[in-house]
């Protein structure tokens, strides 16, 4: 298998599964779990980006499981960076390449820089560095946050991305207290999109929709400047389900409306995949219980807990200014003033 490595080649959008590049740049023999969706994100990420890419990985499953004991599954250059340092590593590498090219020590060709981090390394520890990188508009880099909703590598500790009520080793269920974790998950892509107007591309994706994910990665790399993609990765280990259902759970996360797929491209929001169909009213949002009941981490949920979860998701779709992106709304009296129509999506009358 020869890998085409044309300098300065553009990354066209992928039209369908038959158009997905065949070359593997992240090969088998990584010590991930059976059914690891994050490994699939790595595979899709580098498939979409192509061979002229440098990948930087902060500590987490995708570092520890993949590159243990003096071996690697990466065909492209890969470097480990510390927990929380994905943003800094992306910025530094991109700046370094730029200087080397300016000084003529490297040919002036396009080299993609992708830094990945888990939800612990990105949303907990590395948020500051990611935020800083997203303000440096002169350096091209993509930060990919693969979110399996816990510190899965060290055997499932709670992170700020763990959903409401889920069991982790830090939030076990018990007789005195059924739910140890009662905080709602942080809205990272929305927060970053709202806070970094000069980043030209920020997206939320899921590897269950592979072509959508790959196209988002390509768009992020093509548009230039600092960009960010957040994927939700079902984790058979921490979510406690049979590994064969990884794809199905990713689909359910999107179809229940818990994880909206969208991109903010040049400051314009674009809903993608089933999320778009839900917003357009072409598809009905599935009840969250279909998603929750499939996972051992929610096995202790009572009807009341499910109702609360459903209520929060409904609020996101019906009350938020933009579902899944902007969590506040605008006072009635200021609607005209700010020229914003806050009619909830489900109340918008469809033209006949």
């Amino acid at each position: 298998m020869a890998v085409a490595a044309t300098p300065n080649a553009t990354l066209p959008q992928i039209k369908g599964v038959k158009d997905v590049p065949y070359d593997e740049l992240f090969v088998s023999g990584h010590r991930t779990c059976q059914g690891c969706e994050s490994a699939l994100v790595m595979r899709h990420m580098i498939k979409a980006a192509g061979p002229r890419t440098i990948v930087l990985g902060s500590t987490g499953c995708m570092y520890v499981a993949n590159t243990t004991y003096y071996t690697t599954p990466w065909v492209v250059p890969w470097m480990h960076t510390q927990l929380g340092a994905a943003g800094s590593a992306a910025l530094g590498t991109s700046a370094g390449l730029k200087v080397l090219m300016r000084k003529g020590k490297l040919p002036n060709e396009k080299i993609n820089v992708i830094a990945f981090c888990g939800d612990g390394g990105g949303a907990d520890m590395g948020l500051g560095a990611i935020s800083a990188t997203l303000t440096h508009k002169e350096y091209n880099s993509l930060i990919l946050l693969y979110d399996n909703e816990s510190y899965a590598n060290t055997d499932i500790q709670l992170s700020s991305m763990t959903p409401y009520g889920a069991i982790t080793t830090f939030s076990p269920t018990g007789k005195a207290k059924r739910l140890m974790h009662t905080r709602w998950k942080k809205n990272v892509p929305g927060m970053l999109a709202a806070g970094h107007p000069e980043s030209r591309y920020i997206a939320a994706a899921c590897a269950g929709y592979a072509v959508d994910l790959m196209n988002k990665i390509r768009r992020a790399l093509e548009v230039g400047g600092p960009t960010f993609i957040h994927t939700i990765d079902p984790c058979p280990k921490g979510w406690d389900y049979h590994p064969q259902y990884s794809q199905e759970l990713g689909h359910l996360a999107v179809e229940t409306g818990i994880w909206p797929l969208y991109e903010v491209f040049d400051n314009k929001l674009n809903l993608t995949g089933p999320t778009r169909q839900i917003a357009e009213g072409r598809k009905k949002r599935k009840p969250v219980v279909e998603y929750l009941k499939r996972q051992g981490r929610f096995a202790h949920f009572t009807d009341e807990d499910v109702d609360h979860f459903q209520g929060e998701v409904d609020k996101m779709w019906e009350k938020w200014l933009i579902p899944g992106v902007i969590p506040f709304t605008i006072a009635e009296k200021d609607r005209a003033l700010l020229r914003v129509d806050t009619t909830p999506l489900h109340e918008v009358k469809k033209p006949a």
Partner: protein
């Protein structure tokens, strides 16, 4: 407390006051709690005779990954001093009993990179025991274990592999049946009365005591002589590079395009393997696209063949395949090798169809060209 039970006697003969080590080989995460409960059960039962012991997991397995073979240990000694002397290891090099709580583990285990594929009997001492939970007979299991380098006894306690998740434990008494079987194999170290009393005291549940007795009564053994077993499995062994061979800054050579990681193959994580009905395959690419372990390769005819050396048996391909019974997950114990089966389909489709039916128990339908033999 157990200290009231001073009447128990130490059955070890003078001069044989050594420690006993038991390892439990299991599927990471799926059987983590089960392995913990077995190791803990051994130590608690032996404490009834004022033996001292400890149960621990192997450091190198942490963090565990779903399906990847892992080990936990129970080490018991008559005195604290003996135990301390024996505990100065993080992984016992020699064990008296190796317990495999999933029968597909008898095909060998590869726990991490450079580990190689190790026979299930590797750490078992001369004339020690390999105890397997299985619905197969010892004779059937010997067909799948590596050729023995020294004699051991293969014991089987009836029951399928008990798999569960990290948070919800499947309490199907597998741990109690294994403890009962261990009592049968090591009567001097783990008398059945002690195991039963220990379980009765800690669980206050007679049904569990009955399961212990069931394991004790129903364990089947078979002597395995040196040289018995199979040669069919791949020899996967590595010379580890010394520090002089390593590059500065922990730099590792990247993989070449088209290559797979040769130092870690991961196929021993598999309990089921996908078998493809190439006749009904519609070449939709979904199995290839959604495989997290890059194990599908396209053939000139546009089919996707499984590279069994890379497949870890997660079952995603069978789940995402839109055609019913096109990809079927089959018990790993039915196979002796990792050879690519597409070659057979390509050369002798009818022989492949026969093989498919034999392995999956399903008719190889979809052959739109009528078979030469006619029939129905």
């Amino acid at each position: 407390m157990a200290t009231t039970e001073k009447t128990a006697t130490v059955a070890v003969k003078p001069g044989e006051e050594r420690l006993v080590s038991i390892e439990v080989v299991y599927r990471g995460i799926f059987q983590k709690t089960l392995a913990q409960r077995i190791c803990r059960g051994v130590v608690l039962a032996s404490r009834r005779r004022n033996y001292t012991g400890t149960a621990f997991a192997r450091y190198g397995d942490s963090p565990e990954r779903n399906g990847v073979p892992a080990k936990q240990f129970a080490v018991v000694a008559p005195t604290d001093l003996e135990l301390e002397a024996g505990m100065a290891k993080y992984e016992p090099a020699v064990v008296d009993v190796s317990v495999a709580v999933d029968d597909t583990l008898v095909k060998g285990i590869e726990s991490w990179a450079w580990y190689g594929r190790q026979p299930i009997w590797k750490p078992v001492r001369d004339n020690g025991f390999v105890l397997v939970t299985s619905n197969s007979t010892p004779d059937e299991l010997v067909q799948q274990t590596d050729k023995a380098e020294r004699p051991y006894t293969l014991a089987v306690v009836p029951g399928g592999a008990s798999f569960a998740g990290l948070w919800v434990y499947k309490d199907d008494h597998t741990d109690y049946r294994v403890l009962g079987a261990l009592a049968r194999l090591l009567p001097d170290w783990l008398p059945i009365e002690d195991v039963k009393a220990s379980i009765r005291e800690s669980t206050k549940d007679e049904a569990r005591v009955v399961s212990v007795q069931f394991g004790y009564d129903n364990v089947r053994t078979r002597e395995v002589k040196k040289g018995e077993g199979t040669d069919a499995h791949e020899k996967l062994q590595f010379e580890k590079p010394g520090w002089t061979k390593m590059r500065e800054g922990i730099i590792v050579e990247a993989r070449k395009p088209g290559e797979r990681n040769p130092f870690y193959k991961k196929y021993t994580a598999r309990t089921l393997r996908p078998v493809v009905n190439f006749d009904t395959c519609i070449k939709c690419t979904m199995c290839w696209l959604d495989c997290p372990d890059e194990c599908f390769e396209v053939t000139p005819s546009g089919h996707y063949e499984v590279v069994y050396e890379a497949c870890i048996g997660c079952g995603i391909c069978a789940q995402v395949c839109p055609v019913k019974d096109c990809i079927v997950m089959v018990d790993e114990l039915k196979f002796t090798d990792n050879t690519d089966k597409f070659v057979l389909y390509d050369k002798q489709p009818d022989a492949y169809r026969q093989w498919f039916t034999e392995m999956t128990g399903l008719p190889a339908i979809g052959s739109d060209k009528p078979a030469a033999t006619g029939g129905d």
